[in-house]
């Protein structure tokens, strides 16, 4: 039973990582950059939802929608102001800009909301506990896993069936060729940031529903782990981010439960190192090939 309990908790934590990892992997795949500010967009999303629930008296669903809207605007603005002017610059310059953006967001949050941790309010997400036999599962766990599945299916359909989604795959594979098809590359990159940031808001709410302590650095560690998950699964690949995120969550929880509570994170990163040694492109990453 403890095993099942841990498995379910791992799946739930992994689902949060997966949703965050999607933002990293989509942006990497399409804009070819690591957006290290992504973790902090999660934190902003969580704060906005917190304000909606605590101060503005919004119903939970509205609060989440407002958080998604704010994060979408934030993500597109960050891309337009900070990253777009560097589109032709060296990737190191973009990386450093992203790290700077991450600290900017953390410190803005510190200014606006203060350093004291806030306790995230209870909502329908984490208000009940389901009992199945000897198992007791929090509703947050179930909702998180379900949200992950819905998002995965929706994104897969979006990228495989819609014109915009296919345009995203084209830009991801060959930006110049995509432009020659008539695809507006800048607009496609903006759209990617919009989707990634909206998902970050959802991830922020889910994260704080399971671990209800909210502070300006809330997004950092999950952000780094989700980035790890994206690399683990094969950065640039949407199913890879899903698989990497879920596996990472399960490994972390099992590591903490059966090996050592302190070493949980170390185990996670050790597994990453082993995977990258054996399969440098990640679990589902595709090695580049060219035919003549």
């Amino acid at each position: 039973m403890i095993f099942l309990d841990n498995l379910i908790n791992g799946l739930s934590l992994g689902s949060i990582y997966a949703i965050i990892a999607l933002g990293y992997t989509m942006v990497y795949g399409i804009a070819k950059m690591l957006n290290f500010a992504h973790g902090d967009v999660i934190m902003v999303g969580a704060y906005i939802a917190f304000c909606g629930l605590q101060y503005w008296g919004l119903p939970p669903v509205m609060a989440i929608l407002v958080a998604m809207a704010v994060c979408t605007v934030l993500g597109v603005t960050i891309e337009g102001l900070a990253y777009r002017p560097l589109r032709q610059a060296a990737s190191l310059a973009v990386l450093i800009t992203a790290i700077g953006m991450s600290y900017l967001l953390q410190n803005l949050a510190l200014m606006i909301w203060g350093a004291n941790p806030k306790s995230f309010p209870r909502t329908f997400i984490n208000s009940s506990i389901l009992r199945v036999g000897e198992l007791s599962i929090s509703s947050a766990t179930i909702i998180t896993i379900l949200a992950n599945i819905v998002i995965m299916v929706a994104l897969t359909l979006f990228t495989s069936k819609t014109k915009m989604g296919k345009a995203m795959r084209c830009v991801s594979e060959d930006r110049g060729a995509a432009e020659l098809m008539g695809i507006n590359v800048n607009r496609t990159i903006s759209l990617t940031f919009a989707i990634g940031s909206a998902l970050a808001a959802i991830a922020g709410v889910l994260l704080c529903s399971s671990y209800p302590i909210l502070q300006p650095t809330t997004g950092s560690m999950p952000g780094i782990k989700a980035f790890t998950a994206a690399v683990f699964g094969g950065i640039g690949s949407i199913p890879g981010a899903m698989l990497g995120g879920v596996l990472l969550g399960v490994i972390e929880i099992f590591g903490k439960a059966y090996i050592s509570t302190e070493l949980g994170d170390a185990i996670v990163f050790a597994v990453l190192i082993v995977v990258l040694l054996v399969k440098p492109a990640g679990l589902l990453g595709k090695p580049v090939r060219e035919k003549v």
């Binding site: 296919k166 345009a167 084209c170 098809m181 590359v185 090939r289």
Partner: protein, 242 residues
């Protein structure tokens, strides 16, 4: 060849200068393409042929000079907008979307057109390239080199261009496939497609083209009817290996 060159040119390149940073790659070239012509741009590696095509397509921007399509100045028009103005570039190295299916590649070629017109264009293209029809659902990266080149050309045709630009379509292909590709170019021409062709295989290019320009280190050094250049001593020495 003056009989087919009536009226204003479809494409007019006016004294363009293109730089890569500090490198002056194109040093003032002018060329014209008229409706229903095949014009070829030949020259050695590094002469600036691809740079010229990429500039016309809007991927690069001239620091000086103009590109006019159908009489309208195209300076500052982005590559993605050039497609709906009737220009299509089939780039060097094919650049097909390897992870997408053949059909998806073709659909992306028609990205700028209304969805309702795509099916008819697909039919057209499949008729011209029956091999692609057979491989419709296959992932493009698994096609052979020749098939990939056909796909790249078919994809460029899906936007219904008024001017099709082909950059080294024969590159890296076996001689028999090179023949096939040039047969297709001739067929397209007979079907009324206007083509600007960049080639290192000068022999083949001059045989299918109406007119030709010879480029050397960023400049046009010779121009004239393809037939004439094919028998020109200097061209033969430099590019035809005789």
């Amino acid at each position: 060849m003056s009989d087919i060159r009536s009226g204003a040119p479809l494409l007019k390149v006016n004294d363009i200068h293109v730089y890569y940073g500090a490198i002056h790659a194109i040093k003032g070239i002018s060329l014209e393409v008229y409706d229903n012509e095949i014009v070829t741009l030949i020259g050695a590696n590094g002469a600036g042929k691809s740079t010229t095509l990429n500039t016309i397509a809007g991927l690069l921007h001239p620091r000086q000079g103009t590109v006019e399509l159908n009489g309208a100045n195209m300076n500052g028009v982005s590559a993605s907008k050039m497609v709906s103005r009737g220009l299509s570039l089939c780039p060097e190295g094919r650049r097909i979307f390897q992870q997408m299916t053949v059909r998806e590649n073709l659909e992306m070629g028609a990205y700028s057109r209304p969805v309702t017109e795509i099916d008819a264009s697909l039919e057209d293209v499949f008729q011209r390239f029956p091999r692609l029809k057979e491989r419709e659902k296959q992932i493009a990266g698994t096609l052979s080199g020749g098939e990939q080149q056909m796909l790249a050309m078919a994809r460029a045709l899906m936007s219904h261009p008024r001017l099709l630009m082909l950059d080294e379509p024969s590159m890296g292909l076996a001689p028999i496939l090179v023949e096939q590709i040039f047969d297709i170019i001739s067929e397209l021409h007979e079907g009324g497609v206007t083509i600007l062709l960049v080639e290192q295989n000068a022999q083949m290019a001059l045989q299918v083209a109406d007119r030709a320009y010879v480029m050397e280190t960023g400049l046009i050094t010779m121009q004239g009817p393809a037939e004439e250049l094919l028998h020109n001593d200097a061209v033969q020495k430099a590019y035809l290996g005789s």
